[in-house]
Structures are given as structure tokens and as C-alpha cells.
């Protein structure tokens, strides 16, 4: 555990003027009841995320990735510490105001009743709605833009349950974009996609971050894709934040081998991004 127990300090952001999200000493604990001992603890986590930045949250199963994402989204209130988005405490915000700044894309749920793509994307406008929430022309405009941003314009009249995995993922992303957030949180968006779909999705996220100033945090199991498309990596293990840094800083052979319990090799490529190779 020697290398794994070294916890990293806050990674200084290269351009401190543009901080989207600041996470300071945030921790969380799952408890069965109020008085029982915590079943699982997460943190403390320290992180700063900038505009235009894609950060991957990596770690083995049950390392706390989804919990961290839920905490950042305001679904789980941190036990200690503070999470700020654009200078405002995430847990102090009214849920609907928070949803105007942070969009959360979770693992796909089964739709109970048939729904058209545009109906689904319009749901992203809920945080902006009035009491009975009939959508305005403006809502339709933003939903249309969101569909265009993910290249799903031609799908707008299709049924959600008739889409392919990749198309569906794009539409789910469009609903998040319709919220007009500054921060996009995605929980294993590549899970049900084939390799082509995975690459396409990450390219798209990269473009959205580069061209539209979104900050993207993505939970994933894809080490190589994270290295290729993400600016920084947060590595979690058993609820602890082991390391934060660029892929080259985080992808150390001994560290990855210990965290993922597998024989791995790390190879540095010409573009400065490491690649992980399974050893036979």
C-alpha cells in the first residue's frame, strides 16, 4: 500500500481566474442508520475544475466514483468540506437553480412509456419552468439547439426506445445541455456503447468543452480513452482520492497495478499521453 497511501495535495489550477468548480476537503459517508458506523466513506476530496476542462474520475468498482459524482451534483450532502460552483455553495442552492448550473447524466434507466426524442429533451427545461410548466417557445429553441449540438437533430421525432445505444446516449446528453449548465457530470456514459460509439462520445465531449466552455466531469472505466481525451484524472480507491493530475502524472505502473489489481504496463506515446497495456 506504500504508493497508494500517498495522498496528493490540491492540484493547483494552471489558470486560477477561470475556476468553475472548487471542491475543498469534501467527504461523505453512507450509514445504514443514524447511529451505526459508516458502511462506506468517501474523501476527503480536493479538486478544482476549470472552464474548457474534461476531468475523468477513475477507479475500480466500489471506489466511490458515482458517490463522488452524486455529491458534486448536490444529490448527497457532504459530511464535511465544501463544494462550490461558480462561487456558490452547491448545497445552499435551490435545487432548480442548481440544475441550471449543473447537469447530471446518469446510467441509463428504462423508459416505462414511449416518449419522443423532443419530449425527452424538453424535460431538460424543467428547472426554468413555471407552475404548471407548459414549455415556452424559448424552451423549444434551447432544446433544439441542444439537439443540434450533439448532432441529433434528425432524431427529434423518433421514439426513444427505437434508438440505437449511441443515438440514445446523444439524446440523453442533449437533455443535459438543454439545462444550459456550465458543468456537465456524466456517470459511465460509455457503458453500453461499442468502441466506435465510445470514441465518438468522448470526441463530442471534447468539442463541447473546447468550443462551448463546458466543464465536464466523467466517471468511466476506460483508462485509454480517458488518457486520450481528458485533461486531468482523479484516481479513487476505496473511497480515497489517491491522485489528481494529468494522465501522465497519474498513470504510473505501480499505482495502477495496485489500484486495479491487474498486471499492467504503461507506455508513453508521442503526444505525451500514456497508454495502458494488459500484460499476459
Amino acid at each position: 500500500m506504500s504508493s497508494a497511501s500517498v495522498s496528493s495535495p490540491v492540484v493547483a489550477a494552471p489558470n486560477a481566474g477561470n475556476i468553475r468548480m472548487r471542491v475543498e476537503q469534501a467527504s461523505y459517508a453512507y450509514q445504514a442508520t443514524d447511529r451505526s458506523a459508516p458502511k462506506f466513506t468517501l474523501g476527503p476530496v480536493n479538486l478544482e475544475a476549470l472552464g474548457h476542462e474534461i476531468i475523468a474520475i477513475l477507479g475500480p468498482n466500489a471506489s466511490g466514483k458515482s458517490t463522488l459524482l452524486g455529491m458534486l451534483a448536490g444529490l448527497h450532502k457532504p459530511l464535511s468540506g465544501r463544494i462550490e460552483v461558480d462561487g456558490a455553495d452547491v448545497n445552499g442552492l435551490d435545487p432548480r437553480v442548481r440544475a441550471q448550473r449543473i447537469a447530471l447524466v446518469q446510467q441509463d434507466t428504462e423508459l416505462l412509456f414511449p416518449l419522443r426524442v423532443w419530449e425527452y429533451v424538453l424535460q431538460g427545461r424543467y428547472p426554468y419552468g413555471r407552475r404548471l410548466r407548459f414549455e415556452s417557445d424559448e424552451d423549444c429553441l434551447f432544446a433544439g439547439n441542444a439537439l443540434a449540438q450533439v448532432g441529433a437533430d434528425p432524431l427529434r421525432d423518433r421514439w426513444m426506445d427505437k434508438l440505437s445505444g449511441g443515438e440514445r446516449q446523444r439524446v440523453i446528453l442533449a437533455r443535459a445541455l438543454a439545462q444550459q449548465p456550465s458543468l456537465l457530470l456524466l456517470d459511465e456514459p460509455t457503458q453500453h456503447l461499442d468502441i466506435g460509439g465510445k470514441v465518438e462520445l468522448l470526441r463530442r465531449l471534447r468539442r463541447l468543452a473546447d468550443n462551448n466552455r463546458y466543464t465536464v466531469l466523467v466517471v468511466t472505466h476506460e483508462l485509454d480513452l480517458a488518457s486520450e481525451f481528458c485533461d486531468r484524472i482523479v484516481l479513487l480507491h476505496q473511497g480515497k482520492q489517491l491522485r489528481v493530475g494529468t494522465p501522465a502524472e497519474v498513470y504510473e505502473r505501480a499505482l495502477l497495478e495496485e489500484v486495479f489489481q491487474a498486471s499492467l504496463d504503461v507506455e508513453m506515446r508521442a503526444n505525451g499521453r500514456p497508454r495502458v497495456i494488459l500484460k499476459g
Binding site: L75, P114, G129, R133
Partner: protein, 338 residues
């Protein structure tokens, strides 16, 4: 992109309202004592403009004493059960949920019988007891329908079957072993009919209907989001727990209301919301009012058939809805399994 507008909701509801009116007129016309449509219109209009004394006593008797109260009761029951069905489907995340199939109607019936045994003369108590019976039953079925902390569709339906058979047995036991009380027959509680008028004024029951349907309607845009994913709905700012409590209480109230006056009429809460979804889509802002109107129409027509197909006797209306509803249920079950 053609988002739902209040105007569209109004137009669709107006259309369904006209259908309901048509069903009411046909239902007034047919029966052992036939009245022509012009006579019915004359009877209705004369009362409306305050010239009731010009209506022939026979017509007055048949229209206002016999058929119209029964139709009014049918509208109340149909609207209640359909809205409750749509509510339970969202609450339990199960398209096959229906007050009858889940045993909620049986629970409401048992509550009603117990209240009749204890305090038969207290006005409104039977409705309250039926509501309590419905609320407790759905709570128990919800609990039994879970596997690993999640609602599991087959387990939920099995829990409903167990609830129906157990509660029906208790109802049979009580209605046969407590003679001397003013119970309706066992058939009434198990199959449902509209032949007897309730002791409570219909105005009060309609007030409860509006309260129940209105409460569910206020949550309709929240329900749309909850149905596409509860966590995401929470994140988008929906107060999921509050919505669930509102739907739970209101759907139990509507079921209790219907059962207290008509017994357990089955499958309306299943057929009607599904038909409305096929016609107008899954948006609850349109589904709730259309289900209420179409449910009312369906029960009025089903009761008409129940009165005329085996005249001069009649069938319980619940037998008519089950004849149509059970095959629809099987169709939905098989379509879902694929």
C-alpha cells in the same frame, strides 16, 4: 417540435367531453322504458330553463329519478378509477398497475364493510374507511412487491393477486357471518355495480373527485420526469418524495371513493390510461384529464350494456369491464414480456 400547450389540452378535453355527453344521452334513452332522443332533450332543456312542471311525470321519473343518478354515479366511479390507475402506474413504475389488480379496491371494500359494521349511520365514514383500506393495502402491496429494495414488476403483481384473494376471502367471511347489518351483497363488493344510490349526497363525492384528480394533476409535469428516472428528476429539482405522497394519498382517496359507492369494478384504471397513451402520448398533463373523461365515458357505456344485454335482469357493471379488461391486461403483459 410540437410541445404540449394548454390550448391543446382544452381542445382534446372538449372533444372527450362531447363523447361523454353523447354516452350520457344514449344511456338516458335506452332501457326498459324507451324515450326518444327529442324527448330526452326536451326533458333536460325544460329543467335547465326552469320549466320542470312541463315535463311529463313518466319522463321525469325515468330520467331524473332512475337513469340520471345512476349515470352520475358511473361518471364519478369511472373518472376516479381511471385517474387512480394512471397515478398508481406512475407511483409504482409499472404499466400494469390498476386499483383492482393490485388489491387496492378489495382493501377499500373491506374498509367500507368494517365501517358499516361498526357505525352504519355516520355520514361520510364509509368513504373515509374505504380510503384508509385502500391506502393500507397499497402500502402493504408496495412493500411485498420489492426485491432487493427495488420494485419488481412480477413480484408486485403476485403481491396484488395474494392481496385480492386474501381480502376477498375476508370480505366473504364478513358479509356472510355478520347478518343483520346493512351490508350490500358479497357480489357487490367483489364485482361492483351501480344499481344503488349512495346515502351521501353526490355533490360531496364530486367535490372529493375534483380534489383527488386536481391533486394528481398538479404533480403531472413532475410525474413526467420521475417516469424517465427518479434520480435525474431529483437532480432537476423535482421534490420526488412530496410528489409520491400526493399521488399515493390522492390515488387511494379516488379508489376509496369509487369502491365505497360501487364496489370493486375492475380494469378501468388499466384500460383507460393505456388507451389514452396510445391516442395522445404519455404526457401526464394530458393523460390525467383525458383519462378522467374517458373513464367516465367507459363506465357509462359499460353500465348501459350491463343493463340492456340481459334485460329485464342486469349484470354487474364490473362483469362488463372485466370481460373487456382481462384480455387487454393479457395483451399488455405479453407485449411487455417481448
Amino acid at each position: 417540435m410540437r410541445p404540449l400547450t394548454p390550448r391543446r389540452v382544452l381542445w382534446v378535453c372538449l372533444g372527450l367531453g362531447i363523447l361523454l355527453f353523447g354516452a350520457v344521452v344514449i344511456s338516458l334513452r335506452m332501457g326498459a322504458y324507451p324515450i326518444s332522443i327529442p324527448d330526452i332533450v326536451m326533458t333536460l332543456v325544460n329543467r335547465f330553463i326552469g320549466r320542470s312542471n312541463e315535463i311529463p311525470p313518466d319522463f321525469w321519473n325515468v330520467v331524473y329519478e332512475i337513469r340520471l343518478p345512476r349515470i352520475a354515479l358511473g361518471i364519478l366511479v369511472g373518472a376516479s378509477l381511471s385517474t387512480a390507475g394512471a397515478g398508481f402506474q406512475a407511483l409504482l413504475r409499472n404499466p400494469l398497475a390498476d386499483p383492482y389488480v393490485l388489491g387496492v379496491s378489495s382493501g377499500a371494500g373491506l374498509g367500507a364493510i368494517i365501517s358499516l359494521a361498526l357505525a352504519p349511520r355516520t355520514p361520510g365514514l364509509i368513504q373515509f374507511a374505504a380510503f384508509l383500506g385502500a391506502a393500507i393495502t397499497i402500502g402493504v402491496v408496495y412493500y411485498l412487491g420489492q426485491r432487493g429494495g427495488q420494485i419488481d414488476s412480477p413480484t408486485l403483481l403476485l403481491a396484488g393477486i395474494v392481496a385480492v384473494s386474501f381480502l376477498s376471502a375476508v370480505i366473504m367471511f364478513l358479509t356472510t357471518s355478520l347478518p343483520g347489518h346493512e351490508f350490500r351483497s358479497m357480489e357487490f363488493w367483489l364485482m361492483g355495480d351501480l344499481a344503488t344510490q349512495p346515502s351521501v349526497n353526490l355533490h360531496w363525492l364530486y367535490l372529493l373527485l375534483i380534489l383527488g384528480v386536481g391533486s394528481i394533476y398538479t404533480t403531472s409535469s413532475d410525474l413526467n420526469l420521475i417516469l424517465t428516472g427518479e434520480q435525474e428528476a431529483r437532480h432537476l429539482g423535482v421534490n420526488v418524495d412530496r410528489v409520491k405522497i400526493v399521488v399515493y394519498v390522492a390515488a387511494s382517496l379516488l379508489t376509496g371513493l369509487a369502491v365505497s359507492v360501487s364496489g370493486a369494478i375492475g380494469y378501468v384504471g388499466l384500460i383507460v390510461p393505456h388507451l389514452m397513451r396510445m391516442l395522445f402520448g404519455s404526457d401526464y398533463r394530458l393523460l390525467i384529464p383525458t383519462s378522467a373523461l374517458a373513464g367516465a365515458t367507459l363506465i357509462v357505456l359499460a353500465d348501459l350494456l350491463a343493463r340492456v344485454v340481459v334485460a329485464p335482469t342486469e349484470l354487474p357493471v364490473g362483469a362488463m369491464t372485466a370481460l373487456v379488461g382481462a384480455p387487454v391486461f393479457i395483451y399488455l403483459l405479453r407485449r411487455r414480456a417481448r
